[in-house]
């Protein structure tokens, strides 16, 4: 290498070649990085999935049952199905949240013959867009489902697209031992509920455990207040975008909630529901409005200590009979590789035998088929089943009853904003309404 002629040239040579080449390349890498994000819109069409089995003696199943207990239930059900029909189920398990977030790509690609999903708006939406298979003839062979469940499985065109498997109610959970110790009584009106909360505060408890870091738990609180104040039909219409969010009815829900917020555990936006449930388990909180799955956070010997009541009545003309009880179940792909086997599997899943397996294996959910032998239920499960059985209307949960884009990009930030600053309800509702109009008209 010749000697450098100028100072600049000398200095430039001090930089190792690998680094010297970096400035332009890092620029390209940066541009590529920025575009990788920008490009996701285009990539959205490239979703693919493994679909095991083709015709004959197999049927493939896309499952979101990534947690141990539901996974175990599904494995046992498919093993029993193989014994009874000789058809093997190839289960393709995907992480629960990932499955939910990729559902659009999944259904437009090559979905499995049968896949896990929820009842509600989104199910009907897929059915209307032709992304799910009609299973009305399977329903012709099913028995043991109440009309509410059949209705929850029906698409906008009156055909069935969904086979329910399990469900769980949302209610206010508490520990019997804590309530006995302080002599608390189950409240049946909002006033009693408030009085109870105030008493718990005096007793050094956090009245209502609360967490909303992930954005969805607060939807449960909104739902139950809305159901109690405005009733089920208003909930359905509001979720469908037909009612205005700036109406006095919605405002009253938030006003009531604002009145209850001082009873809620503070700083909820940094807390996960598991942490809030543990504060109930550790007897630091008095009660917690959540789904039946709250029991997961309790030890085996504490299960009998868990009890619950449905959220008290607010308006006597509305009553306290409606509640959120999301239904999980199965759907069929629009073009399954083996439609015959897929329908056989769905029929089996909706049957009594599969229900019995679930009763024995999963204490966290209730079986949708009323024909199943529920003698294996825990006391908590029995009570939960009675509660749902006595409900006049069953809602699915805010994010299952409305458009997912509205729920995740508008409602979650809005509810978190409300929890942060409960004073400006009017401004918040105007903002929701403006966004709702834009989303629901597109």
């Amino acid at each position: 290498m010749s000697r450098p002629r100028t100072q600049a040239e000398y200095l430039a040579r001090l930089v190792p070649p690998s680094v010297a080449g970096l400035n332009r390349r890092s620029l390209l890498a940066g541009a590529a990085g920025a575009s990788a994000l920008l490009g996701t819109g285009l990539l959205a069409g490239c979703g693919d999935s493994d679909s095991g089995g083709s015709g004959g003696k197999t049927v493939s199943m896309g499952s979101n049952a990534s947690d141990p207990t539901p996974k175990d239930v599904l494995a046992k059900v498919s093993a029993a199905f193989k014994t009874s029909s000789g058809v093997e189920v190839a289960i393709n398990t995907v992480d629960h949240n990932t499955f939910q977030e990729n559902i659009n790509n999944y259904l437009q690609g090559k979905p499995d013959d049968v896949f896990t999903w929820f009842a509600g708006y989104r199910m009907r939406f897929f059915a209307a867009r032709g992304l799910a298979g009609d299973v009305s003839d399977v329903w012709g062979k099913l028995s043991g489902f109440s009309d509410a469940f059949k209705k929850a499985s029906t698409g906008d065109d009156g055909k069935q697209y969904f086979v329910p498997f399990s469900y769980y109610p949302w209610a206010v959970f508490y520990r019997k031992s804590v309530w006995q110790q302080h002599g608390y009584q189950v409240p049946t009106t909002l006033d009693q509920f408030n009085t109870l909360g105030a008493q718990m505060k005096r007793d050094g408890l956090v009245p209502i455990a609360f967490a909303d870091k992930d954005g969805w738990p607060a939807m449960g609180t909104f739902d139950i207040l809305n159901l109690r104040i405005n009733g089920y039909q208003f909930h359905v219409d509001l979720m469908a975008g037909k009612e205005s969010w700036t109406s006095d009815k919605v405002k009253k829900v938030f006003d009531t909630w604002a009145g209850l917020l001082p009873l809620h555990q503070p700083d909820s936006l940094g807390r996960t529901w598991q942490e809030a449930a543990q504060s109930l388990q550790q007897k630091k909180s008095g009660m917690y409005l959540l789904g039946l799955f709250v029991a997961q956070q309790f030890n085996a010997d504490e299960q009998d200590d868990i009890d619950f009541f449905t959220f008290p009545e607010i308006d006597s003309t509305i009553g306290a009979k409606a509640l959120d009880a999301p239904i999980d179940g199965y759907m069929m792909a629009r073009k399954p590789k083996s439609e015959e086997n897929a329908k056989k599997l769905l029929e089996y899943i909706g049957g009594v035998d599969a229900g019995n397996i679930s009763v024995k294996t999963d204490p966290g959910t209730l079986v949708a088929n009323t024909g199943a032998d529920t003698s294996g239920y825990s006391a908590l499960q029995k009570k939960a089943a009675e509660l749902v059985g006595s409900a006049t209307e069953i809602a699915q949960f805010l994010d299952r009853d409305t458009r997912p884009d509205f729920a995740s990009t508008v409602i979650i930030p809005a509810l978190q904003q409300f929890i942060k600053d409960p004073t400006d309800i009017g401004g918040l509702l105007t903002s929701i309404e403006n966004q709702k109009k834009s989303i629901f008209t597109s």
Partner: protein
């Protein structure tokens, strides 16, 4: 420089025959053999195709999609054009947008003012061949190597309000992740923790390349340590400094991962990149609206890229 693109593409792949082509510019291009011409054509075409297919096409598609209301379902023929409505929605009725822009700028400022200088400072210290400097080097670089999921988990253990290390040690009950006035700083500490290690390594590599005779000469001339660094070493490191600067800007624009792990970019942690992801990826599938956000991000990035390119090209002349 009419043949600028040719030269650019050449250098991007660093062909072994670079000397031939640069010397054979213009008139002498015809003297190249057939093989040479094929090689050159390939060298231009392949990167050009890659860049168009992987960078420009998606970027243009994003811009195009941003004027639609596509929900990610159904054939492209069904897409309705809505003109600028997505943009007016973003600016007028989308509450997270303004905080997101502010947070991105805050992020840039924090990395630029605190994290980057600190990383450079650590590199200078480690360059002194302290005892156990390899250990420190590894310790500082470790955060860059760790997987994101793990980092999110580690910081959750530290920052959790009820069960976290920080509140247990300080005896406080600050809601590190939930309080929208606090969480952006908490996450920036975590992000800075990664960034410092990255800058430290980059800068250390540069420092190792500085000719020791320069420092000796400065020492002979009686310059102090501080003067030696700022008057001699720092100017010599100009190429590295530019890289560090660009890396800092890029990192702050694509800041995303930690925020996403913490709370999916909500409640005080809004960032442009997180908003794009919230809208486009996942169940929401507001592809049109999300693309409008992405286009805004592209424009912001282009500002920095243009400044950088202008600087570099002026130097090349």
């Amino acid at each position: 420089m009419s043949d600028l693109p040719l030269i650019q593409a050449d250098r991007a792949v660093e062909p072994p025959a670079a000397t031939t082509t640069t010397r054979g510019r213009g008139r002498r291009l015809r003297l190249l053999s057939r093989t040479d011409r094929v090689v050159i054509t390939l060298m231009v075409l392949v990167p050009l195709l890659l860049v168009s297919a992987l960078v420009w096409l998606p970027a243009l598609a994003t811009v195009a999609l941003s004027t639609t209301n596509w929900d990610g379902i159904g054939p492209l023929g069904d897409i309705d054009f809505v003109g600028g409505r997505n943009y007016s929605d973003v600016v007028n009725i989308y509450p997270p947008f303004v905080p997101a822009v502010q947070h991105n700028l805050l992020w840039l400022a924090a990395l630029f003012v605190v994290a980057t200088p600190f990383g450079m400072f650590l590199a200078v210290l480690l360059d002194k061949e302290l005892r156990g400097s390899r250990f420190y080097q590894t310790a500082l670089y470790l955060p860059v190597v760790l997987s994101l999921a793990l980092i999110g988990f580690v910081w959750q253990l530290i920052y959790s309000r009820d069960q976290g290390l920080l509140n247990a040690v300080l005896g406080s009950d600050v809601d590190w992740y939930g309080d929208p006035g606090v969480n952006i700083w908490a996450v920036m500490v975590a992000s800075g923790w990664r960034h410092v290690g990255y800058i430290m390594l980059l800068y250390l590599a540069g420092l190792k390349g500085v000719d020791p005779s320069l420092r000796e000469a400065a020492a002979v001339d009686g310059a102090s340590e501080v003067n030696t660094f700022f008057r001699v070493v720092f100017p010599v490191m100009r190429p590295i400094n530019i890289i560090v600067l660009v890396v800092t800007v890029i990192e702050s624009l694509r800041a995303f991962d930690l925020v996403w792990v913490v709370n999916k970019g909500r409640n005080g942690l809004e960032l442009l990149s997180a908003l794009v992801t919230q809208n486009v990826v996942g169940e929401a599938s507001r592809i049109g609206f999300g693309s409008a956000l992405a286009t805004i991000m592209l424009v912001v990035s282009l500002v920095f890229i243009t400044i950088y390119l202008a600087t570099v090209m002026r130097e090349d002349r």
